[in-house]
């Protein structure tokens, strides 16, 4: 075999090895991030079915118990005294623990109430803190309806924060947790019952855009929240479980943002559930990331008067939200999304490492070809 042929064969093999190293699996796979409790379990058809069944069962159980309570208790319940703050705190659990934490929780709740700019409200908020419940992230909201238009109730397990033998929770983190627990009920307290189109839209989405009622300038995402999206890295597990419009919106596409915001806005169903349960891991499969802040940020951006007109409007949601924002919903939402993260790169794009390797291989090939051509030159 001629010596120059060996050289060509060797160069070809090296090039093949480099290309294989660059392009063959496992490169490009989804790297599962997070610690044990944030790592998603693989979604199988059976698990999805079981989750849907479990959610339906919990909602039915909650509604049944509300109905039973109405039938059994009637007017015999103790009537709380008028609370000028518009919020009533009930603590359930061991008496000693409840007694010990009441002042701290009531004080923090009072601080939160004032931070949200709330005083006496048309819709009273009843906050039930259950210290005996199994720790978890589940919350139950009981919204006003035609039989009771003036109360919104929140049930929250306190197990992670408040336990016997542990110091009392204090500080801004506890306040933020308590504020977020108020969720959509804080919107009801601040802006009253929404008009029918907004109520239907929110109910269809399980109130996902009202979960964090932080409409003050100080309410920005914490480090934990920001870890779900850029700029340094993306939480691909959550993104891969998100609907196409959500991902498109993260990528900075205005029509996708509009679709993500207005999903279910045209629902013709007039029945709105009174009891809504937010599941643990609600952030997986969100329609908008971070949707839990969306309406609070709209309220902060447009001001309370314009937001109230949107909230209470009899017009369709797309019309009234556009009027409130003063610009197309998609455009405003793209800008809002940019406040949290850079655009998610969408579409085909070569990774930086692969591009460098390819250029290196190309340069090597050109160099070898040039060398061979030089040696074959007739002098």
């Amino acid at each position: 075999m001629a010596p120059w042929l060996r050289l060509w064969l060797a160069a070809g093999l090296v090039a093949c090895a480099l290309i294989a190293a660059a392009y063959l699996p496992p490169r490009g796979g989804v790297h599962v991030r997070g610690v044990v409790f944030t790592t998603p379990r693989p979604l199988t058809a059976a698990r999805l079915r079981a989750q849907a069944l479990g959610a339906a069962w919990r909602a039915a159980r909650a509604q049944l118990r509300v109905a039973e309570a109405r039938a059994q208790l009637g007017n015999a319940v103790d009537r709380p005294t008028k609370d000028a703050r518009g919020v009533v705190l009930l603590i359930l659990g061991p008496d000693s623990l409840a007694h010990r934490v009441r002042a701290a929780v009531a004080g923090t709740l009072d601080t939160v109430w004032h931070r949200l700019g709330l005083g006496e409200t048309k819709i009273a908020l009843v906050f039930v803190l259950d210290l005996a419940a199994t720790p978890g992230s589940e919350r139950i909201y009981v919204f006003p309806d035609s039989t009771d238009r003036t109360t919104c109730a929140v049930w929250q397990a306190g197990g992670w924060w408040i336990r016997a033998g542990h110091p009392l929770p204090t500080g801004p983190t506890f306040g933020t947790w308590l504020q977020n627990a108020l969720g959509p009920c804080a919107f009801y307290a601040a802006f009253g019952s929404p008009g029918r189109p907004v109520r239907r839209w929110l109910a269809e989405r399980k109130f996902d855009v009202t979960l964090y009622p932080g409409w003050t300038p100080a309410d920005r995402p914490s480090g934990t929240e920001r870890s779900r999206f850029g700029p340094r890295s993306w939480w691909w597990d959550a993104i891969y479980q998100s609907p196409p419009a959500t991902v498109g919106c993260l990528g900075g596409r205005a029509p996708a943002c509009r679709a993500a915001v207005l999903r279910d806005a045209a629902s013709g169903d007039d029945s709105v559930p009174r009891v809504v349960t937010t599941e643990g891991r609600w952030w997986f499969g969100q329609l908008l990331i971070p949707g839990e802040r969306y309406l609070a940020d709209v309220a902060a951006a447009v001001g309370p008067e314009r937001f109230l007109r949107f909230w209470n409007s009899p017009l369709p949601v797309d019309t009234t939200l556009t009027l409130a924002l003063g610009e197309p919903i998609g455009d405003w939402t793209v800008k809002w999304e940019r406040g949290f993260s850079p655009p998610l790169p969408l579409g085909p794009a070569a990774p930086l490492g692969a591009t460098a390797v390819a250029l290196l291989v190309a340069a090597l090939a050109v160099g070898l070809a040039a060398m061979a051509a030089a040696r074959r030159q007739v002098r």
């Binding site: 035609s146 009771d148 109730a153 019952s193 209470n312």
Partner: protein, 145 residues
């Protein structure tokens, strides 16, 4: 069981809605306005108060209640509502639903005058036509000469 107790408590607190709301400033506004309106109508010889009702309605919601009226007696139906209410509609109909008298104004203080030709139960309908922040409290008084 524990969870059941919690939810019962939750429901119990929800049941006390009217209690929590009782005496709030919007309800007090309605009480005061209604009292003033009744005094004004008494000066016009509508001396007897047949009925007084106060409740809360969301925007565009309505409520109907029955009242028995005597034939040949002039009645006045007065409606008032809280500061967030921009328009309250008031109407009287027969028990079968035929409208007899409707307030034509577009304000928050509707008044309907009506003299029935026969003694019967009549339906009074209150509609919260425009409420800036729901719910809005309203009050209705039925007076007769």
């Amino acid at each position: 069981m524990r969870r059941a107790g919690v939810l019962l408590a939750l429901a119990a607190t929800a049941l006390t809605a009217d209690a929590v709301a009782q005496g709030n400033r919007w309800q007090q506004q309605v009480q005061q306005q209604l009292a003033r309106a009744v005094v004004a109508f008494r000066a016009q010889r509508f001396a007897h108060q047949e009925l007084s009702r106060q409740a809360a309605l969301n925007n565009e919601e309505s409520e109907t209640f029955l009242v028995t009226l005597q034939a040949g007696v002039p009645y006045s139906f007065i409606g008032v509502c809280d500061v967030d209410c921009e328009r309250l509609a008031l109407g009287v109909a027969t028990a079968t639903g035929n409208d007899i008298a409707v307030d034509q104004s577009s304000g928050a203080l509707p008044v309907v005058a009506f003299t029935p030709t026969m003694t019967a139960s009549y339906r009074v309908t209150v509609r919260m036509a425009a409420c800036r922040m729901s719910p809005c409290w309203y009050g209705v008084a039925v007076l007769r000469k």
